[in-house]
């Protein structure tokens, strides 16, 4: 396996790194607040691109496959997935989001609390990694936790799909920040898995729409003890 030397960060990459992590966290928080699916899909696209930029910045010694990897990331997470979600939303005219389980104000407070938890957990990880980008690991963890919160509070099927992808973006970001990204084969494998999961969930949403005439998941509670 290639050993990644400690990166002598040029000012441009540091700047790119900072904006990308900032964008990631910002989009995650905004998702908590946005109600409509189209808006959420847009934010998801932005977050995908930010993740791609982040992986680009963290891997600056220019092996060709790293660049291809970042491009693939940008394409799938930035463009394909949000497009699929938007197309399904338009076809099933499920554009507006019902009231989430937790109203946005408490959502924000919870997000703040989760970020502090992420920092508490993230700091020992940050100090332990030799990498310079280690300091930003808590941001990755924060995105994961906020993604989880969004998932737990969204009633809308498409909202839950978006939240799932946000969780995955968070994990990808942590991977890049903590360990400079996983080996290429694993990275591609994970990406395809996430894509397949999104496709499966979209097909299921389409069927639920046909079967239950509404895509509000909280109405689906017949399976109980």
């Amino acid at each position: 396996m290639t050993t990644i030397p400690s990166v002598t960060a040029s000012p441009l990459t540091i700047q790119l790194l900072a904006t990308a992590t900032g964008a990631l966290l910002l989009t995650a928080v905004l998702l908590l607040w946005r109600r409509s699916i189209t808006g959420a899909a847009g934010l998801l696209g932005v977050q995908g691109l930010a993740l791609a930029a982040l992986s680009l910045a963290a891997a600056t010694e220019g092996e060709p496959h790293l660049y291809a990897l970042a491009a693939l990331l940008a394409l799938i997470k930035g463009v394909v997935i949000p497009a699929l979600v938007l197309r399904t939303a338009r076809q099933l005219d499920a554009a507006t989001e019902g009231s989430p389980v937790v109203n946005p104000a408490t959502g924000m407070l919870l997000a703040a609390a989760l970020t502090t938890v992420a920092f508490l957990v993230g700091t020992p990880v940050a100090t332990a990694t030799a990498r310079s980008t280690g300091a930003a690991v808590p941001v990755g963890l924060a995105v994961v936790l906020i993604g989880f919160l969004v998932l737990a509070t969204r009633r809308e099927a498409l909202g839950q799909i978006i939240a799932f992808v946000v969780v995955d973006n968070g994990i990808g970001a942590t991977a890049v920040l903590a360990a400079g990204g996983l080996p290429a084969v694993i990275e591609v494998g994970v990406l395809f898995d996430v894509l397949l999961v999104v496709l499966v969930l979209l097909i299921l949403t389409r069927r639920i729409r046909l079967g239950v005439a509404v895509t509000d998941i909280s109405r689906l509670n017949e399976l109980r003890d």
Partner: protein
């Protein structure tokens, strides 16, 4: 290959032959014979293993298992040999009885294979050499008996509930034993009994292991308060199976208790003996009280098993209490334990087989619906008589000899040094005496109401005797009761290897000699004396009869005139009425009187219905609340899974946060 190994091979072989015969035989009739004979072979080989182990054979058989570091082992010990021999003999008698008696589900393929498994389990338990083998044999016994208890599920509504109670209580005993013996094995380093015996745990580890294992064994033995499965499961099982369960399976619990007290933890503190006594006394009193008021014959016999287990535990407790200060008396108490085990096995088998024969002949289990069976079923009546005499511990029966030795140990157990024993002795003496008195009433009622006077129902009037194999089995068992009663010395000499040295009989004598208590009893001489007294009376009676012939009269005294119908005779319920009234706080009978008034005025009564039910108060107050609590827990627990995906995600999210924070610390 010595006798023990051959016998074990024969045991396992006859098990497979029995199962093959059970499954292979086409008609129930043929299956009864084939599987019955194979089961008798199993019993005989079981007795052979017991006798081999009893006469000093100490071979060890090993069997590998797929798990590394765990091998199953069978170890021939004198104590195990004794119990294997007793169970072997009873298996033979019950299988012989089963040939004629088994019908319907008991004679089905599963019925006979379960019987074979049950027999095998009971033979393997006393021979097991380590904790794991012991518990596996324990479960083989459990599955065999559970299937047999459930065999009549299509005919009576109570069978399924009884089977469930039985299965759960047996599993409770299994898990208690796994915990108790597991703790002991853990502290001794290896699971073999030999290792636990050589390096027994000490302090509170030993106490915890002892208490858990003892309660586990008490559950199987049917001691109060863990006895509630016994009066439910025994009446529902086929009679030859309930005879086997009462006479032998319950004794496996006693074998376990003796294993704990004499082999694994021989010199425990004195509060252990008080714990055993604390299990023994309520079992004896409560068991016989419930038996004396029970009107269902098999339920009566089941509760009498609890009573006898109580007496055995009392004898064991006395043996433990007096071991440090007076070893001689402790040996006498141990002889009493062994005699009680054998005598109960003998007379309880006789009684259950007789009850089975009555059920077969009249289709009745309730004493209130029997009567006059002595004329219609002479052999069964004789068996019931001998069994009842044995159970009431009256002279010339095994019960008398056993209770005599128990009382000898009680009388001579007082010692100046140990204040504790001397203080509780009179109380224990009173309990044993009251139990014997109530047993007298119970079995006079059982024998008198069932066999004497006029039949109370048409079924009883149309009673017919069982088949030949049933009669032979009953007479064999009854002969056992009388044999042990008349020549106990032979039995004590046969089981002498099990007894401690000081109690081993030196001279050969038919009677019972207890060196520890300087007391001896020769029941044969007592019988001869009785005969000597009876002969002149019979001759004078015969002479009088020749001069003044007897005259048959149609009607007994019916206060002048009215034709007394058989239903006016006393029934089992009315016979026990005084006792229900005296011990009503212990029995808590539920009485209710429903009065239907005439329409026109409240003060004229059209009809009145009185019903009284004696329910097992231990179960009503102890177990029913637990069952209700569990069902409430189950219902409330279901709200945990209420179908909302948000609650599920929240629980996963909560777990994630907890782990993150937990790992931080």
């Amino acid at each position: 290959m010595n006798v023990f190994q051959w016998a074990v091979i024969a045991l396992v072989l006859s098990f497979f032959v029995a199962t093959a015969a059970a499954v292979g035989a086409p008609t129930p009739r043929l299956r009864n014979i084939l599987a019955g004979v194979a089961a008798m072979a199993l019993g005989v080989s079981g007795t052979a293993t017991g006798v081999a182990a009893l006469t000093g054979d100490t071979t060890i058989l090993l069997l590998a298992t797929p798990l590394p570091g765990m091998t199953l082992s069978w170890h021939a010990t004198a104590l195990g040999g004794f119990f294997a021999a007793v169970s072997g003999v009873v298996v033979v008698i019950c299988a012989l009885y089963g040939i004629g008696y088994a019908h319907g589900p008991a004679a089905s393929r599963t019925g006979w294979s379960a019987f074979a498994a049950f027999g095998l389990g009971m033979q393997l338990v006393p021979l097991a050499g380590d904790v794991v083998t012991f518990l596996i044999a324990w479960e083989v016994m459990a599955i065999g008996s559970s299937v047999l208890v459930l065999s009549d599920h299509a005919h009576r509504p109570g069978v399924r509930k009884a089977g469930l109670w039985y299965a759960v209580m047996t599993h409770l005993s299994f898990l208690l034993l796994a915990a108790g013996l597991g703790i002991a094995a853990a502290s001794a380093g290896s699971t073999s009994f030999y290792a636990i015996a050589t390096t027994p745990p000490t302090g509170e580890v030993a106490a915890l292991a002892f208490v858990l294992a003892l309660v586990g064994f008490a559950t199987k033995a049917g001691a109060v308060p863990v006895h509630i499965w016994l009066p439910r499961a025994h009446p529902e099982a086929p009679s030859h199976v309930s005879a086997l369960m009462s006479a032998v399976m319950v004794k496996m619990g006693i074998y376990g208790a003796m294993l704990l007290t004499t082999r694994l933890f021989p010199n425990g503190p004195s509060w252990w003996a008080l714990l055993v006594l604390g299990l023994g006394i309520p079992s004896a009193l409560y068991g016989i009280l419930q038996a004396s008021v029970a009107s269902d014959l098999k339920r009566l016999l089941a509760y009498s098993t609890t009573e006898n287990v109580g007496l055995i535990l009392i004898a064991l407790a006395i043996a433990m209490l007096t071991r440090p200060t007076r070893p001689g008396i402790s040996a006498v108490a141990l002889i009493a334990v062994f005699l009680l085990v054998v005598s109960h096995a003998a007379f309880k088998t006789t009684l259950f087989l007789a009850a089975g024969s009555i059920l077969h002949g009249t289709g009745e289990r309730d004493l209130d619906r029997m009567g006059g069976l002595a004329v219609r079923m002479p052999v069964t009546a004789i068996a019931l008589a001998v069994g009842s005499l044995g159970a009431a511990a009256l002279p010339a029966t095994s019960g008398f000899v056993a209770e005599w030795s128990l009382l000898q140990s009680l009388i001579h157990a007082d010692s100046r040094t140990d204040r504790l024993t001397t203080a509780i002795l009179p109380f224990v003496m009173g309990v044993v005496a009251l139990t014997a008195g109530l047993a007298l009433l119970t079995f006079t009622k059982a024998f008198g109401i069932a066999t004497l006077a006029r039949p109370r129902t048409a079924n009883a009037a149309a009673a017919h005797e069982g088949s030949r194999s049933m009669r032979l089995a009953m007479l064999l068992a009854a002969a056992g009761v009388v044999a042990v009663g008349v020549i106990p010395g032979v039995l004590v000499r046969a089981i002498s290897p099990v007894l401690p040295e000081v109690a081993r009989p030196t001279a050969y004598s038919a009677g019972l000699v207890l060196p520890g208590a300087q007391a001896s009893l020769d029941p044969t001489a007592l019988a001869l004396l009785a005969l000597a007294v009876t002969l002149p009376l019979v001759t004078t009676g015969w002479l009088l009869a020749r001069r003044v012939p007897r005259q048959q009269v149609a009607m007994g005294w019916g206060c002048g005139g009215v034709r007394t119908s058989p239903r006016m005779q006393y029934t089992a319920t009315s016979y026990a009425e005084p006792l229900v009234r005296i011990f009503d706080d212990a029995l808590a009978p539920t009485r209710d009187v429903r009065v239907t008034h005439a329409e026109e005025s409240r003060f004229t009564v059209r009809a009145m219905a009185y019903s009284q039910r004696v329910v097992d108060v231990v179960e009503a107050r102890g177990y029913a609340p637990v069952v209700r609590a569990l069902t409430r827990l189950g219902d409330r627990g279901r709200s945990l899974q209420n179908g909302s995906i948000h609650r599920y995600l929240a629980s996963s999210f909560g777990a994630l946060l907890l782990v993150l924070l937990g790992v931080l610390g």
